[in-house]
């Protein structure tokens, strides 16, 4: 199925992107992670009707995307995925929240509309922040950081392996599906009555593969004495990055910049 191949392509593109070098890529994974997290928390902490104060937050994605040379086309795809649920909630705000917020040249704008745009905008900001994080951080860097943060090793290794095998399983499912479609008279996907055996077959194959992987792991000493504590000290540049990507936005959250604009105009 087309969407399976596109998922594989998505993983591959992100891998290629995260393997490059830039002022952002080279930073320590801890600060990259913290920066994204703090940013998202700040964005999301604004009140429902606050839109104006959110606007300067656009600097984060714009600057970091440019510095890391991450293409904007990826953002659009991701926002499209995240949007539907937010649209539902946003539109319901338009419907249910009709106190007037302000007037522009004679047209009254309701608070609901403002919150609609606020929701859309913060969706965009959050999605972009996550994209930047994965576009500049290779998976193994991320997982080693999780280990340093004392996340149980069992879980981190599981995460790494699931990531690794998604491509393999998608390929397998895709091949099985093509074989199915070439022999079926329907043209609109799997018939529900075949789901049991199709998915079941894939599941059994996965199980068998897991057995072989387990054998391969045993042959290489698993479970062993993996006492890996891959140290990675923070550099001055890392602290600068963290400060630069969090302090301005913390200030923007605390102080109301729109009030400044009001006074100027």
């Amino acid at each position: 199925m087309a969407n399976m191949q596109s998922k594989i392509q998505e993983i591959y593109s992100l891998e290629q992107l995260s393997g490059r070098k830039s002022a952002v890529h080279d930073r320590h994974p801890l600060v990259k992670l913290l920066s994204a997290f703090v940013y998202i928390v700040l964005v999301v902490s604004f009140g429902r009707h606050e839109f104006g104060r959110l606007i300067p937050f656009i600097f984060y994605p714009v600057v970091l995307m440019a510095l890391s040379e991450t293409p904007w086309s990826l953002v659009l795809r991701r926002v499209a995925i995240a949007i539907p649920f937010c649209l539902l909630a946003g539109i319901s705000n338009i419907i249910f929240d009709r106190a007037i917020a302000f007037s522009v040249g004679g047209i009254a704008v309701s608070a609901g509309v403002v919150s609609f745009f606020s929701i859309l905008f913060r969706t965009f900001l959050c999605v972009t922040a996550v994209l930047i994080l994965v576009a500049v951080t290779p998976v193994s860097q991320l997982s080693n950081q999780l280990r340093r943060l004392r996340v149980p090793d069992l879980f981190v290794t599981l995460f790494e392996m699931v990531y690794r095998y998604i491509g393999v399983l998608l390929d397998e499912a895709s091949t099985m599906y093509t074989a199915y479609m070439l022999r079926s008279t329907e043209h609109k996907g799997l018939h529900i009555r075949h789901m049991g055996s199709f998915v079941g077959q894939l599941l059994i194959r996965s199980y068998d593969r897991a057995e072989r992987v387990y054998n391969a792991m045993k042959c290489r000493g698993y479970p062993g004495r993996d006492t890996r504590k891959i140290k990675a000290p923070l550099s001055g540049a890392d602290y600068v990055y963290l400060a630069a990507t969090t302090l301005p936005f913390i200030l923007l959250r605390v102080f109301d910049i729109t009030a400044v604009f009001e006074r100027i105009f």
Binding site: M4, E10, L14, I40, V44, S45, F46, G47, R48, H49, E50, F51, G52, R53, I58, V63, M65, A66, E69, A82, F85, G90, S92, F96, R98, F102, V104, S110, G112, V114, L120, T123, C126, V127, V130, V134, L154, F155, F159, M161, V162, Y165, L169, G189, H191, I192, H194, G196, G200, L203, I204, S206, Y207, A210, V213, D256, T258, F261, I264, F265
Partner: protein
């Protein structure tokens, strides 16, 4: 039914992260105690990847012409047992969040809780296992799968409703939201249950030992007492109840405000049609009319967006755009210079 960041408040997000994190840590300990845990790791990993792939498999529902796909939570539980299934699902959800924008980063805690913790640690031990405890038969597998899937999805959907409302970003009233979410997920749950049943029966027919070891593996630890499960339930109830009452008490005005809306006395010219029917829907589904949760962070009023504000906003966007373009241009130039030097 993945939660999005934009509808979440940090408080709710953080609380759910804590709950999910605790559940994962607990499950990791449980899995490690199981003597076959080393073998479980590759199985958890590959079946986790399988669930991811299985979610891409669209099937057509005859008669409706629409297509759907399964979630896979209960299926994973049947194959692995509750605790390993939670770990696998959590890994899959994290990957979906990071690499495919399916669910936000802050909302990850919520998603792991709704889609992972509730089915694996609540529904599976309390519903699925008891039904098949007497022995595996096609009939019992089918009943267990369908009931578990339906209940699991209902709980998960309800979790989304509560978390969204507790966050207060959206103004969708509780009743309306629930009336939307629950029936849809009832239908989804039924379909998922039927398919799960078909898959598990197929596996049982072809390779019964896989299922038998999963069930056996989990019942050996009958030391996982009802006590622990009840404790989890209690924590969940307290969390949810606490959040609910906190917000409700902090905003007594919510009541009048929502009544005004329902009565339709607004200041805007309603363009008939959709607004009236929306109000009617709200009245009809106003199960808990008292429980609308205005946002806690309401200090910033929409007043920030006067005309001046709009101009300022536009200027900010323009400035940001220019900054981005400048940086990109500088980089391109640098890259060109570097590649010239290299060649």
């Amino acid at each position: 039914m993945h939660m999005a960041d934009a509808l979440l408040s940090p408080a709710v997000g953080g609380a759910m992260y804590a709950a999910s994190g605790a559940a994962i840590a607990y499950s990791a300990i449980k899995v490690k105690k199981d003597e076959l845990s080393e073998k479980k790791l590759p199985i958890m990993a590959v079946t986790g990847a399988f669930v991811f792939a299985a979610q891409m498999i669209n099937f057509t529902i005859p008669g409706t012409g629409s297509s759907g796909h399964i979630g896979g939570g209960i299926l994973l539980c049947a194959m692995l047992g509750g605790f390993p299934a939670l770990l696998s699902l959590a890994a899959v959800l994290i990957i979906q969040c990071l690499f495919f924008a399916d669910g936000g980063l802050l909302a990850l805690g919520c998603n792991i809780f709704n889609i992972g913790v509730l089915p694996c640690l609540l529904v599976y031990p309390l519903i699925f296992k008891p039904i098949v405890r007497k022995g595996l038969t096609y009939k019992r597998i089918t009943i267990a799968s369908i009931v578990s899937a339906v209940v699991g999805l209902q709980l998960g959907a309800f979790g989304v409703v509560l978390q969204t409302l507790a966050s207060g970003i959206t103004q969708l009233p509780f009743g309306t939201f629930a009336a939307l979410m629950q029936p849809i997920h009832l239908a989804i749950g039924l379909v998922e249950g039927v398919i799960t049943a078909a898959v598990v029966c197929f596996v049982y027919k072809m390779r019964p030992e896989i299922l038998e070891s999963a069930i056996a593996g989990t019942t050996i630890k009958s030391g996982v007492p009802v006590k622990k499960v009840v404790a989890v339930l209690a924590v969940v109830t307290v969390l949810v109840g606490g959040l609910l009452s906190w917000f409700a008490s902090a905003n007594p005005d919510g009541l009048e405000w929502s009544i005004e809306k329902t009565a339709g006395t607004t200041e805007l010219e309603s363009s008939g049609g959709i607004f009236d029917s929306a109000a009617a829907v709200q009245e009809a589904t106003a199960i808990l009319p008292d429980y609308n949760f205005p946002s806690a962070g309401e200090e910033g009023s929409a007043a920030g967006t006067s005309v001046a504000g709009i101009v300022g906003g536009a200027m900010t966007f323009a400035l940001a755009g220019a900054t981005g373009l400048l940086i990109s241009a500088a980089k391109k130039k640098k890259n060109r210079v570097e590649s010239k030097a290299a060649s």
